[in-house]
Amino acid sequence: MSTPTRGRRPLSRRHFLQVSTLAGGGLLLGARIDLSGGRAALAAAGDEGVAAALNAYVRITPDGLVTIVAKNPEIGQGVKTMLPMMIAEELDVAWENVRVEQGDLDPVRYPDQSAGGSRATPRDFEPMRRVGAAGRALLVAAAAQRLGVPVDELETEAGVVRHRASGRSVRYGEIASAAAELEAPDLDAVTLKDPSAFTIIGTPVPGVDNHAIVTGQPLFGIDVALPGMKHAVFEKCPVYGGRLVRANLDEVRAEPGVTHVLATEGIGSPDGLRSGVAVVAESWWAAENARRKLRAEWDEGAGASQSSEGFERQAEELAKASPQTMLLRYGDVESALGAAAKTVSASYAYPFLAHATLEPQNCTARWVAEGRDGRLEMWVPTQRPERGRALVAEVLGLAESAIDVHLTRIGGGFGRRLDNDYMVEAAWIAREVGAPVKLLWTREEDTRQDRYRPAGFHFLEAGLDANGRLTAWRNHFVTFGEGERAARGAGFRSFEFPQWFVPSYEAGMSTMPLNLPTGALRAPTANAVSFVMQSFIDELAHAADEDPVAFRLELLDGLQESGGEGALDATRMRGVLELVAEKSGWRSKSLPKGSGMGVAFHYSHRGHFAEVVQATVSRAGELTVDQVWVAGDVGRFIVNPSNAENQVQGAVLDGIGQALGQEITLRGGRVLQRDFRGFPLLRMRQAPPVEVHFLRTDHETTGLGEPSLPPAPPALCNAIFAATGKRVRSLPLSRHDLSWS
């Protein structure tokens, strides 16, 4: 694509810019800005290797079209549109002349190609802008040479360099090739725009794939098709960790369309290839039909005795004893509780949850044998392609360099695709079959073989003084794990509110062993902890006979000492709480019995969010969520206001859907739910209006995929209390009788 590089030089260990000429004319800009994602790979490559391996973020062709590579996986969070917006803004090109291309996995060329933790905005906001600004500087320098005028007499707008004094101008496309001859500017030294001059950042930009989506073009992992491709399903033991004993493989082989039936005892750790049976056929439907004829006998292993009910009983037993581990303690909780005018205790519980991405897990792989070895080419909807490739390499005993990974658009992430179990399955099947294979899970497998949001149990006690002020807080958190180590996604963070805002505080933890894989679900830990903390705080507000907003504002005034890294900023939280109270009419509205408003706030993923839910419960107990108001503070800029609103509304409705009816239940080690009837996703008729307000504050611009979710479930449950007097201490709501008289 490009000729050998000129003007290429490593600018520092951290920053590189590469400028080269496109074959056929034009400018190619490559950059490496932050090495945190691939330090090891870079060290191995050396400076020369690194510079040679740099890839294009930006291509400008003589026709003036600008192509920008989107490096991160797109799961619906809008990153494929947003990161190019940042580059285009500083490059100063018209958005309609920008084309966006998805980058493949390449940890040397692109830093941190992952989707998770709402990190893209804070991580990439300035680096992406610097790439654009460097491109603009090159084009201005080329224009100065062309027009024979000093650089500082030139200005740019929408892909044109202008010399105001003479009225002459030159389009980027005309000087792109000339710019490619120039020396790369120092990325650290380029001048960024004054934000008041932004023309793209801060404007609503529709998703770059919208046209392809509404016309049904093949964009997703499930849509990948290769010549000679076969289709596979992979049956695993319904109890996690179980192993195949025997199966009627020959009968399945005889089914129509079936080309291969492969059994495996599994390879490597439990995170590697699991024991199971792969059925490969000429069409997916044929493979799935044949799989239904499979009669497999499993050694279910130790997991078969587990049940959700058993865990509940076990948690209650553990709560009677002292916590196995003290996570944090300050002040004298015991004395404070003794001296309290009023004490309140309550136990809270939340269930396992599945991710239920609408696009079931899938992956396409092609194995090409080369002598005794071979190469794998993979097309995969994953949130963490680099980790996925490393896992495949480890399990199959391949070098990572023998695996190429293409990123597809992804039909929902929600944290499920941070794990790459389906990649390992597809890779193994493709190698065994020696032909391109697309593996696709059924909905049932997707529901039953997930990596679940862990259930959890909190046993709480708090004290209020005679003035209704919170003086003591004790939490015994019973979760899953081994000893002091909580299972993935099952921990408790040392800065969760109201830590550091209560004069005396204790948080202890006890763990129960679990034979079920757990993982991160959108706003991990926060999505559960917020329900518990913000519901119990609501109980305390009522016990203190105080308004729930006023009680929270007072709590936020009570900072004892800095919560340190990761703790919420009380000023920012007060700001969003005041804003949401104002927008929702919290202080002025009076609702009839059966209707009520609830409030909650939570800080996670660097975002401060406060939410008010208004709900109505009929005497018979039928719940309607009437409306939600959201106030969020994610710093200085809302990069793409259209997507920002969409993300917040979606996350809030996601939280409401979880609270209404979602749970994964274990019995006999098996997941009982199998589809959208057992694990109901929110439908349109259940979706209330969600009014979104952003409070712009002078802080770092941060992400929006997650932090608006956590306050939604507790705000809803608090609204139910306001409407009915019934306190909800466990989810989902479908388990509760909400009727009142």
Binding site: E74, I75, G76, Q77, G78, P204, P206, G207, D209, N210, H211, I213, V214, T215, G216, Q217, P218, L219, F220, I222, D223, A225, H231, P256, S283, W284, W285, A356, T357, L358, E359, P360, R409, I410, G411, G412, G413, L440, T442, R443, S642, N643, N646, Q647, Q649, G650, L653, D654, G657, D675, F676, R677, L681, L682, R683, M684, R685, A687, P689, V690
Partner: protein
């Protein structure tokens, strides 16, 4: 078994098992991958297509039942994304992940063909498709916008017919 039907306006014959669902015939045999697999159980609507003008869930529709029918998929809704529902979807910037949207659009366009100006309640009743990203508020808005665009187009046609008449 050879089955003939009309697909996006073109006569089409496939030779597949009669019980094979239309969805998999479309996706794997005919290489039209706009209709999506979400559940295979008639629960989510990601696979929605039009059969003789009605929105149907193709994942549970055996191909044998399609013989002689007119099937329209998202690829055939318009040649270039110019159907008012597609235009409205882009204008309102509905999609997040986008996986369900073809099914949503097919359900919405079938609704609007029989009800030119549906109320919120009518939209909620007809649009039972799952959107896991919960873009429901924008979907509802985009259905109303589609209705406006279609009404505008009808008014323009009526005016030009009057003029010609």
């Amino acid at each position: 078994m050879a089955i003939t039907f009309t697909l996006n306006g073109a006569p089409t014959t496939v030779d597949v098992p009669p019980e094979m669902p239309l969805l998999w015939v479309l996706r794997d045999a005919l290489e039209l991958r706009g209709a999506k697999f979400g559940c295979g159980l008639n629960q989510c609507g990601a696979c929605t297509v039009h059969v003789d003008g009605e929105a149907r869930r193709s994942c549970v529709l055996p191909i044998s039942r399609i013989a002689g029918a007119e099937v329209t998929t998202i690829e055939g809704l318009s040649a270039d994304g110019s159907h008012p529902v597609q235009v409205a979807w882009k204008e309102i910037d509905v999609p997040q992940c986008g996986y369900c949207q073809a099914g949503q659009i097919m359900t919405a366009s079938a609704l609007l063909a029989r009800n030119a100006d549906p109320s919120d309640a009518e939209i909620d009743e007809a649009m039972d498709n799952v959107c896991r990203c919960a873009t429901y508020l924008r979907i509802r808005k985009a259905v109303h916008r589609s209705a406006e665009l279609m009404a505008g187009a009808r008014a323009a046609t009526a005016t030009s017919e009057q003029r010609e008449g």
